[in-house]
Amino acid sequence: MRSNKTKLLIMLALVVVATLLYVFQDLNGSYHYALPRRLMKVLAMAITGIAIAYATVTFQTITHNRILTPSIMGIDSMYMLLQTLIIFTLGSAHIAAANSTVNFFISLVGMVGFALILYRFMFRKEGQPIFFLLLVGIIVGTLLGSLTTFLQVLIDPNEFMNVQDKMFASFNNVDVSLVWIALVIVVVTIAYGWTKMSELDVLSLGRDNARNLGVNYDGVVKTMLILSAILIATSTALVGPITFFGLIVANLAYQFFHTYKHSVLVTGAMLFSMIALIGGQWIVERVFTFSTTLSVIINFVGGIYFIYLLLRESRSS
């Protein structure tokens, strides 16, 4: 237990180092221009990282798997479809596309609604084989993706540019007003979720054992699914889809901490995601000098890791 605490402290130190590097390196006294913008980006990255980490770990616990994440299950594709639909039907000048706050809330409601419908159908029965669920997730994702592509082919090329902006997660043009809204949503959701932390530990023993120990299983599962849907939707609406990010940080936390305690796992996953996002953005900006984006790197690394996990899973079962 003590060693886990030490690990968490070391990671916290790394987060601080990454943040300081990112905020203060090459600042050249630009306190009025660069500093507030960099701080805002750090805040956006912290919110995204925390939301994705919490949502993914809890989602994986209640679905009893370590491979599927809300993003992989099609929430990202739903986001793309929503954005394309808005521009296709209403046009980029319409308030739903042009006003980022309105767009944010439309995306949020759309994704949470989609997630709840999806969960309702998929997780009604416990113990569905993971590969079946994965398959359903991929099919739903492909279906939504094809619809999106179909609409994008028909769309006016100038309008398509607007859609394209939304296709990749980016911290370079995060809307300041949205950061504060997202912050409130994430803090409130996680503060509520944190009170259920020890019940999540019991949930990993399976439905019957959890109920035997006095946990209202179905109630907790439902609450947690809603919380994770809200968090994932918030982060996606804020910066765009980073499909494989949750998968990486959650699995790193499992491998690194060897515990069933969610207070440790979730905190660890949060710290991992902040190190990856803030440290990664620092590399993208200062090393690659913006020649690529962070989400490209993350999806590249995450995709490889995903394949590795699938291969390992299929070998063990």
Partner: protein, 254 residues
């Protein structure tokens, strides 16, 4: 006392449990026996609230079990099902400590630790308490799960086929421990059993089910005889008395 009143459960078109009424005698081992698909496990699941009954009610000390708060109920009745698939890696001690969850909500007090120690000792798991569950044999794992239920320290302990997949030695070990739970700690144990001879040798009371209905309900010596068993299993089973144990010799029966 637990009393089951007119309880029924329907899966699809089949009545798996059909208007069953039975009282669980306190301070005794009661075995549920009967052929496959008789509804034993379903009945046990409904008594322990893992499953909701379609009609009828289960009373714990004269009040409906549905009216209990989950947590209060978990301090009085515990259940262990057959399959215990888990996605996390736990040591025996960590698993047993979960038995204290209804009391401590994950923050173990000194009293909780003492109960965990006791349960581990009771199941002879002291030396291996820090081994991981997935490194254990089926018998050791089953003992770890029973230790969790013992740590839960409830008046009623319900077990769904705890001897499944265990060899003779471990089966006997577990039945002896259940006997001790009743005789020394005054618990009430309800157990679903497949092996009629374990039911005969270790239980005080037997409830026999067939096609969702109770066909026999009485003290062990009233059930373990050729006529009663014919009604339950449709087999002619000779009974042999050996060292004060009534053994059913069913291997050659028609």
């Amino acid at each position: 006392m637990i009393s089951v009143k007119e309880i029924s459960k329907v899966f699809g078109k089949k009545k798996v449990v059909d208007a069953v009424t039975v009282d669980i005698q306190p301070g005794k081992i009661t075995s549920f026996i009967g052929p496959n698909g008789a509804g034993k496990s379903t009945l046990l699941s409904m008594v322990s609230r893992l499953m909701n009954a379609d009609s009828g009610e289960v009373l714990l000390d004269a009040s409906d079990v549905k009216t209990f708060k989950s947590n209060d109920f978990a301090q009085r009745v515990s259940i262990l099902k057959q399959s215990n698939f888990m996605n996390v890696r736990l040591t025996i001690r960590e698993l047993v400590a979960f038995g204290r969850f209804p009391y401590s909500k994950g923050r173990l007090t000194a009293e909780d630790e003492a109960k965990v120690d006791q349960a581990i000792e009771y199941m002879n798991l002291v030396e291996m308490q820090d081994s991981f569950l997935d490194e254990l044999s089926g018998g050791q794992r089953q003992r770890a799960f029973i230790a969790m239920v013992i740590a839960q320290d409830t008046e009623y302990v319900l077990l769904d086929e705890p001897l499944n997949n265990l060899d003779m030695k471990h089966s006997v070990q577990i039945m002896k421990i259940l006997r001790k739970l009743v005789d020394e700690l005054g618990k009430t144990v309800v157990i679903v059993l497949h092996d009629i001879n374990f039911a005969s040798v270790y239980s005080d009371h037997i409830v026999a089910l067939k096609d969702g209905r109770i066909v026999k309900d009485g003290p062990t010596n009233e059930i373990i005889n050729t006529e009663a068993l014919r009604e339950i299993y449709d087999m002619d089973i000779p009974i042999q008395e050996l060292d004060n144990c009534r053994i059913c010799v069913y291997f050659n029966s028609k």
